[in-house]
Amino acid sequence: MATTYKNLLNSDFTSNKTLLHESIPITGTIVSGTYAENNIKNFSHGMFQSVYDYPYLSSSANHIFDITVGYSNESNLSSSTNVQNKQKINIYNEMSQLLVGYDITGSIQQFDEDGDIAAGGTKIQEAIFVNMARLLTKDEVKKGSFIFKAQTGSVNSLPTDTLTINDASGSNGYKVNSPAGEYGVLYVSAVETVSDPWWDVGDPCGLIYYQAGIAVLTASVFQNFGTYGVGVSNPLVGSMNAFLTGTAISGNCEAFRNRFNNLAYNNTTELNSTIYFCRANHNEFNYSTNPTYLSGSKIVVKNNTQENPLSYITSIGLYSADNELLAVAKLSEPIKKDPTTELTFRVRLDY
């Protein structure tokens, strides 16, 4: 317990923020194939599908993302005769309420292809939603780092035909008009397919919400690529439209997973710090209240009584305004302090 305290002035502390990132690669084999669907969790409500990086019954498994699909009730595909029509509309509305918000009439707004909601333009009315786990996205997805590669060939072909999507404008062209934080537009960055003319490089095809960790892909990413389906072992194939209307959400999720070639992004963790500059002037902290400091009324670390007072600083206590000890900073080795020296200790508190 200290007996003398020194007040920290405004110039004695400052705050700092450091961004720590992690690179997250997710290959298509994790999402479909390696674990024979044991890492895929379907729920009785049938509203979405969860994907784990290992069979989810194992305690080692980590949740990596959820997949679901939905369409607006203004979509041409919307029909009461569709399989899970109400659920697909509800999913779309839930996502758009959360990510796009409401207009001045209180109506739910639709996802806008270029993010410029006020200008109108093309809306994403049928969407595939990929909700990435907070465990992996941490504070946010790093802007400009999102890359998704979709397999676009026939269901029976090897993934030679691919469509690469990224948030090319993310680092400096992100949008801020979402209630869920910042988001960027996803663009087609490469088309590695021979026969398909549907997409060109630079076409907008979805949105990525950085803080929410949600990617919204327009379902027409897979349109006009012939049959869309879950592959040879499960011969459920058809056009994208047929899937959205005639197949349950879980079937759509399954089909999407089988078209999932690769996903990579970087996450961001904000490390907030306060740095306290603890200054020991020449005439301060040259004495210790430690009982071992004195022996027979003599300072034990002094060889000669005529010498200056001397102390060895081993730790720094940070106190509240009412002198309550809040934190202690320890030095790796004691620092010698006498009236001929002045020291500034940089104490960093991370939170």
């Binding site: 961004l19 690179s23 997250i24 690669p25 290959t27 290992y54 080692s60 980590n62």
Partner: protein, 394 residues
């Protein structure tokens, strides 16, 4: 929905003190933690991507092949932050602003063994001498140089077992440290801190009833409970001339100095001790802060739910709403009577009651910050007075 403010006697901050048991086995060049065997994955030999006997800190790269691993990185910028593995000089000279410094996952932790030969400079003993002094009130065996015990730790061989705090929490519980040496499956020696003073006493004969072993009854080492170190000092050969194994890559009789030798010893590696197995058991001490809240539902209160299903809409439809050119009055809808009658053909008299299914916790600004769900709804009438106990581990 009614809000009730917690009173001064309704919220308690306390902590749960627990002593989780831990066990390590050393055998045949492998270390096993809590009897966990390797789980072969599709891409790696052990699914957590860490060796058996190691803990993976973030448990992120589960069954991932090389090249597909999650890794951390930081960009050199004005904050001057870097990973601790990047030295200050490397930070200054090897990286320019905007460069990326990468780390690796998984970060693993496990126990570690060091054998210092007699007369060698035991750096970790040197670093812990002050700590030894702090433990001296517990036992004289903590004295580094003791004429009473006739030994000086600076000059004798030392077997140091280092236990990271992730395995024990705040401290190792006194009286729980238990070490065993097996030779071809037979217990050869057994030491424990039987006096709760940190001194490890060989209790082999006492426990097994067998003839006294050479080290039986003697103190073979000490434990630093708070720091997680075990110092074994006894070099008394155990067993007999036929119980030999390849300790320190040399055919010898077992002794406490060889405890934990499973084929890795400083620069000497990759040898086998096929006849020996060692077990280390202890209990840690963990503190979990807990907030305990008492939510009171007093008599004549909390007997109404804003849930619309508590209204009797059949009656509302009969009465209807009142509308006019400048008026709209909602229909008066009575509460549904859910009181149960004791008679088959008769309904019970109306009684105010509610089924409580969850309790929400709000902050000062009435932001919902927690929800406690009941296993089954509790019926509350005007006469009932309930207190719900909510516990939140932090």
């Amino acid at each position: 929905m009614p809000y009730y403010k917690f009173g001064p006697d309704d919220v308690f901050n306390n902590q749960i003190k627990a002593h989780p048991p831990e066990e390590f086995w050393f055998y045949n060049k492998k270390l096993y933690y809590n009897s966990q065997l390797a789980i072969t994955g599709a891409h790696v030999d052990n699914v957590p991507n860490a060796a058996v006997g190691e803990l993976s800190l973030y448990e992120m790269n589960v069954d991932r092949p090389t090249g597909q691993l999650i890794y951390p990185f930081i960009t050199k910028d004005g904050s001057l932050e870097a990973f601790s593995t990047v030295s200050t000089s490397d930070f200054n000279t090897d990286f320019v602003y905007g460069d990326i410094m990468s780390g690796t996952y998984p970060l693993t932790s496990s126990i570690f063994r060091e054998l210092y030969i007699a007369g060698g400079y035991a750096t970790h003993l040197s670093a812990l001498k002050t700590t030894f002094t702090q433990y001296m009130p517990l036992s004289p065996h903590y004295q580094v140089s003791s004429s009473l015990l006739g030994r000086d730790l600076d000059n004798i061989a030392l077997n140091i077992i280092t236990i990271p705090s992730i395995f024990y929490g705040s401290s190792i519980k006194k009286g729980t440290v238990d070490l065993k040496i097996y030779y071809t499956g037979t217990l050869m020696a057994h030491a424990r801190d039987i006096n709760y003073d940190g001194a490890l006493v060989d209790i082999f004969s006492e426990v097994s009833g067998a003839a006294a072993s050479p080290a039986s009854g003697s103190t073979v080492g000490v434990v630093l409970y708070n720091e997680g170190f075990i110092f074994l000092t006894s070099s008394v050969p155990l067993g007999n001339s036929t119980t030999l194994d390849n300790y320190s890559n040399s055919n010898q009789r077992p002794q406490w100095l060889f405890f934990g030798d499973y084929g890795e010893e400083g620069a000497v590696t990759n040898y086998e001790t096929p006849s020996s197995a060692f077990s280390l058991e202890f209990s840690g001490t963990t503190y979990t802060p807990v907030v305990t809240m008492f939510a009171n539902a007093p008599k004549n209160a909390v007997n109404y739910s804003p849930n619309l299903t508590t209204l009797d809409y059949a009656h509302a439809l009969a009465s209807g709403s009142i509308t006019g050119s400048s008026t709209y009055i909602e229909p008066s809808i009575p509460l549904a009577n859910v009181a149960s009658s004791s008679f088959l053909a008769a309904s019970a008299s109306f009684e105010k009651m509610v089924y409580i299914s969850s309790i929400c916790i709000y902050d000062g600004a009435r932001n919902k910050i927690g929800v406690a769900k009941l296993a089954k709804p509790i019926r509350k009438t005007n006469e009932d007075d309930y207190t719900f106990k909510l516990k939140l581990d932090i």
